[in-house]
């Protein structure tokens, strides 16, 4: 099977890298997007964007930046999934989509007993707020609210009642009061949410609630992160540039602007005139409809919308085809993942290395 294509026709890796370098060299503002890659791929991709004066965005930035916006506007208290499992005698599961955001939720948190030093005594109490109409209720002691759209009102009422303020018009006021009492009685409570399903103000309200509860007892938050290694790429971008994703380098130094450097806007406006699309965890294609020349580093079976990308280099899946460093959900740190089935497929870092080599020689030659 081929591992590289130019305009849909099989090509040698080197030829594809040379073609990619030509496109990037000719670009005024190259966009490095998708960024579904491991730590080393992210280091290479961000380094390349900086070198070219391009812009970077991750395919899940929208979700990633919701939690980050709350943190950097209002602050946040958070806990690792492992520590939550060991420590929490009370779980407050907020909004829909938790199992989707973290498929190991049951195995790594719900079904694991607290550590002996945390709870010699208690059965863990679980509450769900507005899980959505499709959710299944299993472990929950109590479900308060149902539809996701009711969540802001329920959270606001809960926070008001915890602060001792009246909240008379809510129809399930007694349930809210019972929950407020249960949260106050928690020894260590943890609130979980998925930013994929909540807006920024709701997350801020929830984090404010966690903060309030810490006046008297212990509570923390557990934001579930989106897929395609968004959390790990955010870390790499942080140390390399000082900023999160949606950062541009066109002026010779990094600038972060969640609106300006949003990939689909850069494409729609025509500001970006070439894209390097990276999706090594799934063979995902870009979701924009632009016409700009695209270099894709994805699995071999990616389905592109209109036509094949100008250059497509097949890359392996991190941790499966090749060794990788990845965000490790249980401890919320970066960890080494040896390849499960090492293959010949190259990594994103290696593919970018090939393109960078071709760029260097392309620039050295007179034109």
């Amino acid at each position: 099977m081929a591992d590289a294509w130019i305009d849909g026709s099989p090509a040698a890796l080197r030829a594809a890298a040379i073609e990619a370098a030509k496109l990037l060299n000719a670009s005024r503002l190259p966009l490095v997007a998708g960024l579904g890659t491991d730590v080393d791929g992210a280091r290479a991709a961000i380094g390349l964007a900086a070198q070219l004066g391009g812009a970077i965005d991750h395919m899940h930035s929208r979700v990633l930046l919701r939690d980050l916006d709350v943190a950097r506007e209002a602050g946040m208290m958070v806990i690792t999934p492992n520590e939550a499992a060991l420590r929490a005698d009370t779980l407050l599961m907020v909004g829909p989509g938790l199992e989707t955001a973290w498929p190991d939720l049951d195995a790594r948190l719900i079904e694991r007993p607290p550590a002996p030093e945390a709870a010699d005594h208690l059965r863990r109490r679980i509450f769900r707020l507005c899980p959505g109409t499709k959710s299944r209720a299993r472990h929950e002691e109590a479900v308060i609210g149902r539809a996701a759209k009711d969540l802001p009102a329920v959270l606001a009422a809960l926070r008001a009642r915890l602060a001792g303020r009246p909240c008379s018009k809510l129809h399930d006021a007694r349930a809210i009061d019972r929950l407020a009492a249960a949260l106050r009685a928690a020894r260590f409570g943890v609130a979980l949410w998925s930013a994929a399903e909540l807006d920024v103000l709701t997350i801020e309200m929830l984090c404010g609630l966690v903060n309030d509860l810490n006046r008297a007892t212990r509570f923390s938050g557990l934001p579930l992160t989106p897929g395609d290694h968004a959390a790990g790429v955010l870390e790499v971008c942080g140390w390399m540039t000082g900023f999160p994703v949606r950062t541009g380098f066109a002026r010779g130094f990094p600038e972060h602007d969640p609106w300006r450097f949003e990939a689909s806007r850069l494409v729609a406006s025509g500001e970006a005139d070439c894209a390097l699309w990276i999706s090594a965890y799934r063979a995902a294609a870009p979701d924009w409809d632009g016409n700009l020349p695209t270099i894709a580093l994805t699995g071999a079976d990616a389905k592109f919308r209109r036509r094949p990308p100008r250059v497509h280099i097949a890359v392996g899946r991190p941790g499966l085809d090749h060794d990788a460093v990845e965000h490790f959900v249980p401890t919320a740190t970066l960890a080494w993942t040896p390849a499960k089935h090492k293959s010949q497929a190259i990594s994103v870092a290696q593919a970018i290395g090939q393109i960078a080599l071709a760029l260097a020689s392309d620039r050295a030659s007179p034109c």
């Binding site: 280091r43 550590a115 030093e117 010779g252 990094p254 970066l334």
Partner: protein
């Protein structure tokens, strides 16, 4: 290549040298002057200049998951600076790893220790450090709030088991030493304890902070780890906390111990505001305890961000956040907190803090036992180092600064009465010779034959801040990397670590422990060479036998 730095004043206190001389380098090492008929391949004229070994920073929070949280929390603190596209990519990204390496190198620093890394975040820290150019670096692994240790103490396990565990942690996390941060305080905070001192007991475990510190101190000492246990005491920042520091000094009982950022423990509770300097008492205690080393954690005025694994202290400090936001993070062991803070010269407390740091520098008599830090960025960013060096070397400059501060703040300190000025030789001891000795780096911090050819050359100037801000020349491993304060060559450094001997049985024990407690193999704790993706990312430092 044979390189000669010619005719400078060589200040090399480790080799008792302060004289005009040539320094020769070959193969990345300092070498003896060759016979007269041998010519250097490269000669750098240092006539009229000062030549020292590359400086070593023993305590600066430059790279870890906590440091990265601070970057992401505070985009407004690192607005983009002037563009410099000619430099290597990202080297002018504010607060980035790349800028960190360049700024340190331009001041003549060649080795920096990141002192607070949770063992399970060691790989993250090493990956960040791998992207810090030019300088070498190391991490200290944080223990003392971890369940394994507290449970071992509760069950009165043997010191050798604790030693094996410490050795296993150092090896897995590729660390140069062990730090303990508010021993037991983070574990107690999880059980809703809000104040925690040396003889307080962690709930459920029934183990006191003192027991934890002493167990770790003994383990580090008996393993032959060159760097003594690095201690961040309880009660950081609180009025009257000098008592905690004095009690910790007494608890060391003659064994080696390093107290970090002592300035933050230099407070009495006297005066009308119940906040005063206790630096003189602390300095006297340090002067009398030869087993003890300290670093200062000097405060300088301006906006900064505090990054600490003392999660209890950071939680309690959240009301003082400026701007008003903070991140409190809990994990296995310490966790941590990010609290932005603005030290204001007109603020009584901040002015006292500034004075306490300088008092400690000036009243501790042995420059080999007091280390030059701001606890970057907690007291001030490391970019303020040149200004602090100038303050230490010039009493008139101190008087100028004091004239601008609230007099009532200076009245509760002794700073006005101190005339001492540091000499260049004392600066070289404090920033070169002594840190190398403290960390067990026999081939650093001096310019004798065989030493790593890390050399800083400074142009003489009466404005010491200007002199130290931009080194005239800096060599790393014999290679010229900085000229006139500008990075001229980009290269990658190494991370220094120790691997003390241990019983092989600990491997099995850790596997069982992580399996039982987390349902995970312990591999996620490890930082293998292959994960770093640089040539020779690590350098092993020998332990004492």
């Amino acid at each position: 290549m044979l390189t000669c730095i010619k005719g400078g004043r060589v200040i090399d206190p480790a080799n008792a040298r302060d004289a005009v001389a040539d320094v020769w380098m070959h193969g990345g090492r300092i070498v003896e002057a060759p016979p007269a008929d041998v010519r250097a391949d490269e000669i750098h004229d240092a006539t009229g200049k000062i030549v020292m070994a590359g400086a070593i920073d023993i305590h600066s929070h430059i790279a870890s998951d906590n440091v990265n949280r601070a970057r992401l929390l505070l985009p407004e603190l690192h607005r983009a600076s002037a563009p410099n596209p000619a430099a290597a990519p990202l080297s002018n990204a504010p607060s980035s790893t790349f800028e960190t390496g360049c700024l340190y190198a331009s001041m003549g620093f060649t080795t920096v220790v990141e002192p607070a890394v949770a063992p399970d975040a060691a790989l993250h820290a090493h990956l960040e450090l791998a992207d810090v150019p030019i300088i070498d670096k190391a991490i200290l692994a944080v223990l003392g709030n971890d369940d394994f240790l507290l449970e071992a103490l509760r069950r009165e396990e043997t010191p050798s088991l604790i030693g094996d565990y410490v050795a296993w942690t150092l090896e897995a996390s590729r660390a140069l030493g062990i730090k303990v941060i508010n021993a037991g305080g983070a574990a107690a905070f999880k059980a809703n304890v809000r104040e925690f001192s040396l003889d307080d007991v962690v709930p459920t475990y029934g183990v006191s902070s003192r027991q934890i510190v002493k167990a770790l101190q003994r383990a580090v000492d008996e393993l032959g780890v060159p760097h003594p246990l690095h201690v961040h005491c309880n009660n950081l920042g609180l009025p009257g906390n000098a008592e905690t520091a004095l009690a910790t000094i007494a608890a060391a009982e003659g064994l080696p111990l390093h107290l970090a950022h002592l300035q933050f423990y230099g407070y009495g509770n006297e005066g009308s505001r119940g906040f005063s300097s206790a630096a003189a008492r602390l300095a006297e205690a340090v002067n009398g305890a030869k087993n003890l080393t300290v670093d200062v954690g000097q405060v300088m005025f301006g906006q900064t961000v505090t990054i600490s694994s003392d999660v209890l202290r950071q939680f309690n400090a959240r009301t003082q956040a400026s701007p008003r936001k903070c991140l409190i993070f809990e994990a296995e062991g310490n966790g941590g907190g990010i609290v932005p803070y603005n030290y204001r010269p007109g603020n009584f407390h901040n002015a006292v803090q500034w004075a306490v740091g300088l008092e400690l520098f000036l009243l501790i008599t042995d420059p080999a036992r007091v280390f030059f830090t701001t606890d970057h960025p907690n007291g001030a960013p490391f970019t303020t180092y040149p200004d602090i060096l100038a303050l230490l070397m010039n009493r008139d400059l101190r008087a100028e600064w004091m004239a601008k501060l609230p007099p009532e703040a200076l009245q509760v300190t002794t700073l006005r009465s101190i005339a001492r000025e540091y000499s260049l030789a004392e600066i070289a001891t404090m920033t070169r010779a002594a840190p190398a000795k403290l960390l067990g780096l026999a081939d650093r911090g001096h310019l004798g034959p065989g030493a790593v050819a890390d050399v800083a050359v400074y142009s003489q100037a009466s404005d010491r801040a200007k002199m130290f801000r931009a080194a005239a020349l800096v060599f790393k491993d014999g290679e010229l990397v900085v000229r006139d304060g500008k990075v001229t060559r980009y290269r990658w450094g190494r991370a220094l670590w120790v691997r003390p001997e241990r019983e092989p049985g600990i491997e099995r024990r850790m596997k069982d422990y992580f399996g039982d407690r987390y349902g995970l193999p312990p591999d996620f704790m490890k930082a293998p060479d292959g994960a770093i993706q640089r040539t020779d990312p690590f350098e092993l430092v020998p332990c004492h036998s």
